[in-house]
């Protein structure tokens, strides 16, 4: 077994079982600040779950999610085909160790669409999404694994917004899309992941980047405004009411097109997300 395989497997297990410190702190603060007792109870359960999951290195949720990979490559580093292969093997190993819920649908295109080909019982058979690669200045090759659950994927929206030369127009439309999405998701409190770019692909890539770098303790004015406005709806954790439907917004604004349109990708991440961990390879 190579070092890279083991490191990647360990990273995947951490992504699926661990809250980062800023995430725990966001929950502690929300619980202290929430008057709705039922809402506090839900958030305390989520936090207790995170503590037990970390101790046992066991899944935060039984929907263990689809691995999404983000690779940062320093300018003096190189990534070989062999390394990519080892990363894929590490993902497979990590899914067995977590263990991930068996979710690989078998069969040809049609059978995978209508799910008639059955389920592969091997947790490791689940393929990760295509890998995103980003050049960085640091002298490092760093892999981040995100485990993305099904509920937020159902509620996510990628669509254009006509900005009318006013940021508030874009914020308002994001809030209009996010509010029902958070309410329907159920597994809240949420984190809103937002990417704004020139095409659907770019916006979604930027949204991924927002989930990779997002920090609950560092919120821009743009992010704060979205969080506050969605929280005005009083949806609350699990929809039970209260002012903490959304704990934070992680947004990444990329280069923009010289036109009246912005493509916005929005994902209402659930109460455990972004489930992520990083490792230097």
């Amino acid at each position: 077994m190579t070092n890279i395989r083991e490191k990647v497997a360990d990273c995947l297990v951490r992504a699926g079982s661990t809250f980062r410190e800023d995430q725990k702190e966001a929950y502690r603060k929300a619980i202290a600040d929430e008057a709705n007792a039922q809402s506090c109870w839900v958030m305390q359960q989520v936090l207790d779950n995170a503590i037990v999951a970390e101790e046992r290195r066991s899944p935060l949720c039984d929907d263990t999610g689809i691995p999404h990979l983000f690779l940062e490559v320093g300018k003096n580093r190189s990534v070989s085909g062999e390394m990519m292969q080892e990363i894929m093997e590490g993902v497979e190993l990590g899914l067995r160790q977590l263990p991930g819920r068996p979710m690989a649908i078998m069969g040809d295109d049609n059978a995978r669409i209508d799910q008639s080909g059955g389920l592969n019982p091997d947790s490791g058979a689940l393929k990760p999404s295509p890998i995103l690669i980003k050049p960085i200045d640091e002298d490092v090759i760093r892999l981040t694994i995100l485990m993305l659950g099904g509920g937020p994927a159902i509620r996510g929206i990628t669509q254009r917004i006509f900005h009318k030369h006013n940021v508030d127009v874009v914020i308002e439309e994001i809030v209009n899309r996010a509010t029902p999405a958070v309410s329907q998701l159920g597994c809240s409190p949420c984190v809103l992941a937002v990417g704004i770019g020139r095409s659907q692909f770019e916006a979604t890539s930027l949204m991924m980047e927002a989930m990779v770098y997002g920090d609950f303790s560092k919120q821009t004015e743009f992010e704060k405004k979205i969080t506050e406005k969605v929280n005005e709806a009083n949806i609350g954790p699990l929809g039970l009411g209260g002012k903490h439907s959304v704990l934070a917004t992680f947004a990444k604004v990329g280069p923009q097109r010289a036109s009246g349109v912005r493509i916005v990708a929005l994902r209402p991440c659930c109460c455990f997300e972004p489930r992520r961990a990083s490792v230097d390879l």
Binding site: S17, A37, Q38, C40, W41, V42, Q45, V46, D48, N49, A50, V52, A53, R56, S58, P59, L60, C61, D62, D63, T64, L98, P99, G100, R101, P102, L119, P121, S123, G186, C187, L238, G239, L240, C270, C271, F272
Partner: protein, 171 residues
Amino acid sequence: MSKIIELTTPLSEEAISQLKVGDVVTITGYIYTGRDAVLPKIVKAAEEGTLDQLGIDLQGSVIFHTAVSPAGVGPTSSNKVEIECTFEPLSKHGVKMHLGKGAISKETVKALAENNAVFAIIPPVTALLGSQTVEQEIVAFPELGMEAFNRLKVVKYQAIIAAAKGESIYD
């Protein structure tokens, strides 16, 4: 929030009749699990009177809407048609608590009240639930894999009463 109410299965008519929306409860003892694939089959067996043959006793029982996978357990949405339509018939056959997540219809809330049964919501806290599950076994329909009908022995699962006495937490 008032103090946590401790419940032990099988649940008595009296224990259920005292529950109201918003109560936080702990559940200890044997509970069943099932979701959209298996619950309609359990309803059919109950109506055909063949539950005994399957080794299932629904009197005073709790049904947790979850799959049982190597990753653990966690609530699925109880308002999926194939799940929510089992609330009334299963309550008639003795189920006292349906445990899952999501808002259910007014008709279902009413049917629960008519049968002195409740709906409770459990957060998707798989690791915590794993630490509170001491036994698990497949009882019926093993061919459904993760969606088979299982029996778990649990210690102090926490849940919140979401529908009782004709009222809903989402009203």
